[in-house]
Structures are given as C-alpha cells and as structure tokens.
Subunit: 330 residues, 2 copies
C-alpha cells in the first residue's frame, strides 16, 4: 500500500516577489529567466534595490507538492528550513496545504532560504536565490518510511547545488526502487543542467531516475543541441518517460516510441511565469499516480500551469481539484 | 515650503492573507468585514487554522502613504515596528515605494504587528490584528520637522487602540496647525468608531481634525443612526471637509453646503476589498495636495480603490500615476 502519491524533495525557499523593468535586470547583472544563485551579501544588496515586494512560500519541488495536494493527491516533502520567521512561514504554508512535512529545521544559522524574484512586464521571472539552510539537507533527513511508501519520488535538479542533498536523493531513490516505486526529477533550469550535465545523464542512464520533467531549453542544454527533435529522441532513449514543456506551444510526452502532444491551455493574461513548470509536474504526477492515461496527465499539467501563470506567486490560489473537475479531466 | 504632501501616521502592520469560506469565519468567531483585535495567543491559534497564505506589507495609513507615493506624491510615515524579520519587510516595502520612514524600531519584543486577513469568496476581507510593536508608538516618535512640513497630516482612527499613539497624534496636529497645515483622519472601522465615538467627535468639533474619511457604515456608527442623509448632514457640520465612500455606489464629498457625487469605477472582478478605503484616501489626498478640484480628488480616489480591489493585497502592484494619466485625470 502506498501512503503517499508523491514524495517531493527540494530546496525549501520563501519567495520575495516584485515587479521590475528589463533595464533593472541588465543593470544588476541578473540573467533573465534563470535561477541565479546569490550569496548573503549579494542578497542584501539586491533587496536594497528591489521595489515593494510580497512574500510567498516557494521552492520548485515544494510548489509541486503543494499543487499535487491542491488536486487532492497525497503528498510528502523533504526540505530544510531554519527555525526563523521565514522557516515558520514555509512550514505553515506547506502543511496548511495538506502536505506531510517533517524535516527537522536547523537551529540558528544559516537562515531559511529566500529567492528574490523579479517579474518583468512580459511576465517572465528571474530568480536570485540565497540557499541558506538548504545547504544542510543531507541523508540524515531521509525519512525511510516516506521514501518507500510514495508511488513516485520527485526531486529537483537544483538539489545538486547544495553539497549533500544529492546523497539524500540517491538514498531515497534506493529505498523507493527497493519498494517497487518510481523516481522522477525535473532538470530545473538550463544553467543548472549546464553545471551538472554528466551527473544528470548518469542518473537517467543508470536507472536512478525513471521519469524526467524538462522544458525545451533544459532539454537542449542537456544534450547540447539546438535541434529540439534530436534532443527529444535522445531523452526517449535515456529514461522510461519524459514530459517536455514548451510554454505556449504546449508539451510533449514521450515513452519509448510513443509520443503524446498536449496543447497549452488558453489564458487571458500572462501575469507571472513563476511556478509554471512546477505546477505542470504537479498536474502530471497527480494524473499519473491516479492511473490516468498520458494524455490526461499532460492536460492536468497544462491546466495547473495555465492557472499559476495568471497570478502573482508560485502556488495557485485556486482549488486545482475543482478546476480539473470543471475542465472535465476528473 | 512643504517638504511632503502627506504625513501618514498609523499602525505598522504586515498582512498575512489567505482565502477562506464564510463558514470558517463563523466557526472561529471572526466578525466579517471588520478589524478584529487579537492577542498573541489567539493570533497563534488562528494562524494554525489558516490556509496557505501570502505576506504583504499593510497597515491602513501606510497603505495610503504608499498609494500617494505611487501617484507621484511626496509622503512620510510614522509607525512602530520591531527590529525583526516582519519589521524589515515593512520598512523595506514602504521605503522602496519612496515614502520617508524613519520611526526608530523597537529592539526585541513585542514583535512587529501582523494582521491575519481572511478573504471570503465574495471578496470581503476580515482582519485579525495583533498590534505587537504598535502599542509602543508615542509622542517621542513625532518628528517635528515632518509634522510641520507636510501639507496634510493623515492618521487612522485605529490609533486609538494602542495606548499612547493618541498623544502622538495630538502633538502632531498641534505642530501641523501651527505651521498652517491641515489634519485629516479616517474613521477606520465601524467597531473602532463604536469604541471611540466621543473622542472622534471631539477631534472633529475641536478643530483638531479638518478632513474626515469614512465609509457609510463608519459614518452611521459615528452618529448612531441608520439614516445615511442624517449622518451626512451631521458630518457636514462637524468638519471642514468629508469624503464618504459607499462601495459600488461611489462616494460623496461634502464641504459646508457643497456636495460632490463621484461614481465608483467599473471593475472586471472583485478579488479582495483589502485597502479599498486606504487607496481612496491616497488618491483623494494626492489630488487635494496637488490643488485639484473636489471632483477630480474623488475620481482619483475611486480610481485607486478600483485598482486595489481587483488584486490580492492592500497596496496596488500597478503604477497609480500611469493609471491616472491613462484615465485622463492628470
């Protein structure tokens, strides 16, 4: 029996979100659309130049866990916060969404991670992440019972940035596979792929990872090619199942020789792309762990992504189960 | 010469905002639409039952100061935070909006004030405010140069809840009047009016306050009447100028025998009423301190209120100056 549909593992982050013009990104050397890692000093500097902001719990895999719970799925999460105010906010929000979150917080420093997210007028988000307490996530944080009782374990490629999280991932993957479960990852970010390309490919080719989520840019970065079809055929061979998102061009799901094409949902206004990929994974994994066919999994992913990009902040304020029912997907 | 258009004084609060159903308010004894004062213990309890939330700087008069600055006005603010994380957020956001904010923060406890705001499906907000550091605001926090150099000093009726803020108000009003400036207040909340009715009337009748902002419910509470016209004629006699908001029915501005009627702006969707009155005051005071006629002042107020109720959170993400220009009001 599975106690959880999805166990998500990631960097536990509170987002600080403000709008800015494109000039601001250029002036401050922020790579647009990417996750920029910053140290404490640069975090202070950027905050001092940031406009009025709002705070909201974020973190890629935690957004996915929250999204899955909003669909009605059973989610658990591993991630490290500190016992400070932002850590309390993070823990409150994920638990209030119904996600099992029991990773013990750090006492004292470093503080809970935060990401300063600048949203430009085109709706694109550019992240500046200070990892803080996340650097302390390690194998001692693996709760074996959760690792072996979740249908799918899902982790973010971003976890290769902190030093010991990868050990936690490899341990969790072993426990999961020993219990007959599947393991899934998101490639997270094209620059993250560039930093850890060989290790990500090894995770896939060794069978440590069964299911891969990526966007078009990450996929091309993984295989160092500008040709999308080349990259798509390469990942087809490297993992059991892959879902590749292409923004307004929808997504493609590949499994061996099978290809399923999903249209993007129509939206009224693109407000903030933060969380789009995370919520696609949430919808997909909710469908997948509910036994839906790949087309429905993809449509659930598109639905959730389409909702989150029409609001500020990375976790939908709307009830995703209700939205899925209204869309005729459940 | 005036260094500031508006000096705002209020409870410095960070909002914690979540959606809930009406049943939740009933189950937790929260008075819908009102500002409910809570102690630290009840704040903890309510937070533990609150759904996933977002955090945003709030506080009635501080929202007005931020709105005025967004219009391009010159604003200053007095309000008390603690030197903790929420205090840093509050100070960052108001300064990043261009408001002069130099009140010295408390060291240590009580912590920065927070208000748990529950937004029901009809868009109405119900606030649960823990005053924290705000109880320490007193006459020692009055910066005389700002009090005497702002065209209008604006304060919230809510300041009668903490013990010594009213002393700061009376001192500021004296300095302002001695410099030939005007003093303005918002009645804040019908229950707040009920708590301090006699004192509020004394402020008006003694000439301590020249300009009053109120909504219909607060006005009726002030004069303990169910008849709107009776209340409107009463306030006409009690202060030099009053602006009374009536939600979707617009607003009325009265000055002696003069009455100006302003329509509410049409909106696409009512999302969250938080900040509606605060932003009306921001628009009105921006117009007033720019020398606009009362009709334009009211239209600027309606414009800002209409913008803030179509988003989550109490301070507009949009640039109000741009919005006013597009509406042909500047």
């Amino acid at each position: 029996m599975s106690a959880y549909d999805v166990l998500a593992i990631g960097n536990a982050i509170v987002d600080i979100i403000a709008r800015c013009e494109d000039d601001f990104l250029v002036a401050h050397g922020i790579h647009k659309g990417a996750m920029n890692l910053v140290d404490a000093e640069r975090a202070e500097l950027l905050y001092s130049h940031m406009g009025p902001a709002i705070e909201a719990s974020g973190g890629s895999a935690s957004n996915t866990a929250a999204g899955l719970a909003s669909f009605g799925g059973r989610a658990a999460y591993f991630g490290k916060v500190s016992n400070d105010h932002l850590g309390n906010i993070f823990a409150h929000d994920i638990r209030a969404q119904g996600v099992a979150f029991d990773t013990s917080p750090l006492t004292g420093t470093p503080p809970t991670a935060r990401s300063m997210i600048f949203v430009t007028p085109d709706g694109e988000r550019s992240m500046n992440t200070y990892l803080g307490a996340c650097v302390e996530l390690g194998p001692e944080d693996v709760e074996a019972s959760k690792a072996s009782s979740a249908k799918v374990t899902y982790f973010e490629g971003y976890l290769w940035d902190p030093p010991r999280a990868k050990e936690a991932i490899r341990m969790t993957a072993k426990l999961a596979h020993a219990a007959g479960r599947e393991v899934s990852m998101t490639l997270s970010d094209p620059f993250c792929v560039d930093r850890y390309r060989d290790e990500f490919l090894e995770l896939m080719r060794s069978g440590t990872v069964d299911i891969v989520f990526a966007n078009e840019h990450e996929l091309k970065s993984l295989y160092q090619t500008a040709d999308f079809d080349t990259a798509l055929n390469a990942i087809r061979a490297d993992c059991k199942l892959a879902a590749v998102t292409r923004s307004e061009n929808g997504s493609l799901i590949v499994r061996n020789s099978e290809t399923v094409e999903i249209k993007a949902v129509e939206i009224d206004e693109l407000v903030d792309t933060t969380g789009a990929g995370d919520l696609y994974a949430a919808g997909f994994l909710f469908g997948y762990t509910s036994g839906k066919n790949l087309e429905t999994c993809g449509k659930l992913g598109s639905l959730a992504a389409g909702i989150v990009i029409q609001q500020i902040g990375p976790r939908p304020q709307a009830d995703l189960r209700l939205a899925a029912e209204q869309a005729g997907l459940l």
